[in-house]
Amino acid sequence: MLESFSRSTARRARRQYVGMMFRFMGHALEAISRFDKTVIDEASALPEGLVFQMTVLPAGPSLAVEHTGGGSLRYLGSHYQGPVDLSIRFKHLAHAFLVLSFQEKTVEAFANDRMVVDGDIALAVRMTRILNRLEAIILPRLVARRAVKEYPSELGLLEKVPGAIGVYRRVAFSMIRDLRKEGLSQ
């Protein structure tokens, strides 16, 4: 009884963690695409209006972003239901947790068949590079090394710290705004 209670609590915590990370990444992608040149260059080659979704089978959590042109990404929220051009779907919540808790690199997850890609594979490759760049900038170096294949050698502290602060500040603002909205609507 006690055991099954704690197991379900752990599961709920894992689901909440994945949901929170998706939400954080969604806001962070939007923020980073406003000022990081590498991300802007990568993203501007995506078709305008492209909607990218990262989700967990069978029913979420998920995150969706849209390329609004010129390399800008817009976070569409965690409950986006519209048409999707490119999706990366984790086969199970446990696999999403491995990646989002930095126990498995995104590329390892690809290599280990943890997820299903639907859409143009060239765009998926590009999106993976954008996610890698995001992780390299916002995560502490030690954690980032575990998350990406190769930590960018040119990414010095000068670029990293202001970049990370910028992302965190924007993300904090928009997450607080979201929470307020959700609080008001309830």
Binding site: A111, N112, D118, I121, A122, V125
Partner: protein, 394 residues
């Protein structure tokens, strides 16, 4: 690595002497008596259909239709035409005879004749198919692509000028029939280029991120056969045993890479093929040594292990452990030079005479967006990819 992996290959392999004559039994065993052959004009001209037709004549099987005009780059229109022929002639199975293009075309035709309709584009993508297709057999006539054991097909949509990918394990044939008679007449430069494709499949499967113990076994066995038989077959094209070695190696390398994927050599090869129409196997031969050099520090251990399979136990034991990875790269360069010596297979991009140096930037950019780059052990930047191309230019 390989904390977790998946491995799948449900294709029956029918290989060796008089393998073709097993085809009628396999067909009737699943109640197929009116197969259609899908092939290209070169295969027919080389007389390679004759032994297949002869094998069926003394059986209950009737070849109900033959389509022998598959071009090197097949298209959605051709797939539709062949599907119509299949329906008109009331065929009940497909036999693909040829290289990558005929096999990919046949996979796509099988989707249409099984699922119905005329629009193959509707089935493009991953996981669209949800049930088994019609009986399908593959008889490879080149020893390289491994398409007989891969669950993908690529067909050009000429009207919209895009390449449509199809991915599903239902595309796999019921059986692959590997008969040394089918590759005996391959011209030397095609033998060389396709064998280098197989060598690259095995080498990348063994050194890239998705490697696993099961695909490793197939990859090393393939490399051993290529190391032992490629130059022997180049010197003596009628060497049936050597031909069978290369054909088996190609299938084994195909099983390895369809489970472990390939890396940067293929990203570069796909981009070069798309931009300059250079044959795929030749691209593999041009890029393999330079990509291995680029990846070296990340793949030192597996690359050192490959020396044993490529060069044999004497060379392996005579080479100090710390030099084995470099020795594997030297052995591959040596193989490339020997092939140039025997059939003038180009050693550098410049020697192909098919592209200009100012196309290298475009190739580098396109290679960065190729799906197989995900599995490369090193995260290659545009600058790094460009410098590999400079080395391969010569």
């Amino acid at each position: 690595m390989s904390r977790y992996y998946e491995f799948f290959c449900p294709v029956k392999v029918i290989a060796g002497e008089a393998a073709l004559e097993h085809l009628p039994y396999e067909l009737t065993g699943i109640a197929s008596v009116r197969p259609m052959i899908i092939t290209d004009a070169g295969v027919r001209a080389a007389g390679l259909l004759d032994p297949v037709i002869a094998a069926c004549e003394e059986s209950a099987v009737t070849i109900a239709a033959i389509y022998d005009e598959v071009p090197p780059d097949s298209s959605t229109t051709i797939v539709r035409d062949i599907a119509n022929l299949y329906r008109q002639q009331q065929c009940d199975a497909i036999i693909a005879i040829g290289g990558g293009s005929s096999i990919d075309t046949a996979k796509a035709v099988n989707i249409l004749v099984s699922e119905g309709g005329d629009d193959i584009a509707a089935y493009s993508g991953a996981g669209v198919l949800t049930r088994p297709l019609r009986p399908f057999f593959v008889i490879p006539t080149t020893a390289g692509t491994g398409s007989e054991v891969t669950s993908v097909a690529v067909i050009a949509d000429t009207e919209r000028s895009v390449k449509l990918p199809f991915t599903s394990s239902f595309l796999l044939p019921n059986a692959a029939i590997i008969d040394p008679r089918m590759t005996l007449t391959l011209p030397p430069h095609i033998t060389a280029a396709t064998a280098m494709d197989a060598l690259t499949h095995a080498t990348e499967a063994y050194t890239c991120l998705a490697k696993n113990p099961l695909s490793d076994a197939y990859a090393t066995a393939a490399i051993r056969k290529i190391g032992r038989s490629l130059l022997a077959v180049m010197d003596n094209p009628d060497d049936a045993k050597g031909r069978l070695d290369l054909a088996e190696a190609s299938t084994m390398a195909g099983i390895a890479f369809s489970n472990s994927m390939v890396g940067l050599v293929h990203s570069l090869g796909h981009a070069t093929g798309a931009i300059c129409h250079l044959p795929h196997g030749l691209c593999m031969s041009l890029y393999l040594p330079y990509v291995l050099e680029y990846n070296l520090e990340d793949i030192r251990e597996p690359l050192a292990e490959l020396l044993l399979y490529l060069e044999g136990p004497e060379v392996w034991s005579a080479t100090p452990a710390s030099r084995r990875a470099e020795a594997t790269i030297s052995a591959i360069r040596h193989l490339r030079d020997e092939l140039h010596h025997r059939c003038e297979l180009p050693r550098t991009l410049r020697e192909t005479g098919k592209l200009k140096e100012d196309q290298l930037d475009a190739i580098a950019r396109q290679a960065l967006d190729d799906g197989s780059i995900i599995y490369n052990p090193r995260e290659a930047s545009l600058k790094e990819v460009r410098s590999i191309l400079d080395k391969a230019w010569g």
